[in-house]
């Protein structure tokens, strides 16, 4: 409908997830009339995005340094590792304020039909961490912290086919470490939900995982 650079920008915004044609148009017009500095700041942030983002050497979380803030935080329990599919899952868990261990980002879930096997995920790196060969943190004064002993791995992959398969696979794989506890986040009815609207699979999981209240 529009011409030249404006239509190009609208087309590009329409390709982003969750942005429909109307929103794309609104954003493009907004930026057309924005202060040039504001537009430059956005363009600059995008140019730096892929080249500037690094991944933590220990947990593979997105990071601006070699070791991410969570792994570098000495107040957190290094013996606990929570395995997630993506970096964004970390944020959701952090928001609960319930967990003070570290993380391990797989970079996805097993999905053989789409060519995602264990080699496409950060699985070897997880095994090496548990084997005590990765987690050394070099402090600012040059001292190297000993890799901590990991006593529990909490698998927090998504509760869908791929995530369940990944959890089962990791459960089998980590049997080679006899002293290690491997756990999975509980499945069950969501808090604040209505029993009437809970699907059968979730409800049967809630029965399996029922806990004694006295």
């Amino acid at each position: 409908m529009f011409e030249g650079p404006l239509q190009d920008a609208i087309d590009e915004f329409s390709r982003l997830p969750g942005v429909g044609p109307k929103s794309a148009q609104r954003i493009a017009f907004h930026l057309l009339q924005a202060e040039p500095e504001d537009l430059e700041r956005l363009t600059g942030a995008l140019s730096r995005l892929q080249k500037g983002v690094r991944y933590c050497r220990i947990c593979h979380n997105v990071s601006s340094e070699e070791v991410c803030r969570i792994c570098a935080d000495s107040t957190r329990d290094p013996s606990l590792v929570c395995v997630v599919e993506e970096s964004k899952d970390i944020q959701v868990i952090e928001r609960t304020g319930e967990y003070d261990g570290r993380y391990h980002v797989l970079g996805g879930a097993l999905d053989p039909l789409n060519g995602i096997g264990p080699k496409e995920l950060n699985v070897t790196a997880l095994v090496q961490r548990i084997g005590g060969r990765v987690d050394d943190v070099v402090a600012a004064d040059g001292t190297v912290a000993e890799p901590p002993e990991i006593t529990e791995v909490i698998i927090a992959t998504d509760p869908n086919t791929e995530g369940e398969a990944t959890a089962a696979y990791l459960g089998r794989l980590l049997k080679e470490f006899p002293g290690l506890t491997v756990s999975r986040l509980a499945s069950g009815i969501p808090m604040g939900g209505d029993l009437e609207f809970v699907d059968e699979l979730t409800l049967s999981r809630a029965f399996e995982g029922r806990t004694a209240i006295r």
Copy 2:
């Protein structure tokens, strides 16, 4: 929550209209994992946006050439000019397929409290067009078309305080052209609506503008 370039990109997307923090995060992660060419195409479109967009010399619509496609289209009626606030309003009117005249983009509406007076809008340019001093179109073969005589100006500013004030102002201003018809889009109950949910002002406008059906 995130670090470095990723958080910068999330922050920048959050500033765009209609993009909340969750969507901004989703877009940033999408682009982080996108093909580098896709990200470069978006960055490129944004860099060209403000510098590359031109405004039609005749109607001030956004354009990639000196004269926009609508003004350059010789099949359209040059004696009709529809006055809109913004370029995006043109798209809405074009979609009806009802109008085959030209447009004039004011670039906003009168809003004295925010310092928008007639000088901040393309009002002088409208008066010059009607006076026959702007609409000459130079064809590809170098021939110059005579500026057409404009016989009707349809004011299609938004039906809110600023748009109504702008319409009233233009109505007074254009009295200096005695042969010119100046009209305003009809206000009334929207089609497909329910009378019960129509506000009082719209309903009273619908009474004022009632039309005979036989």
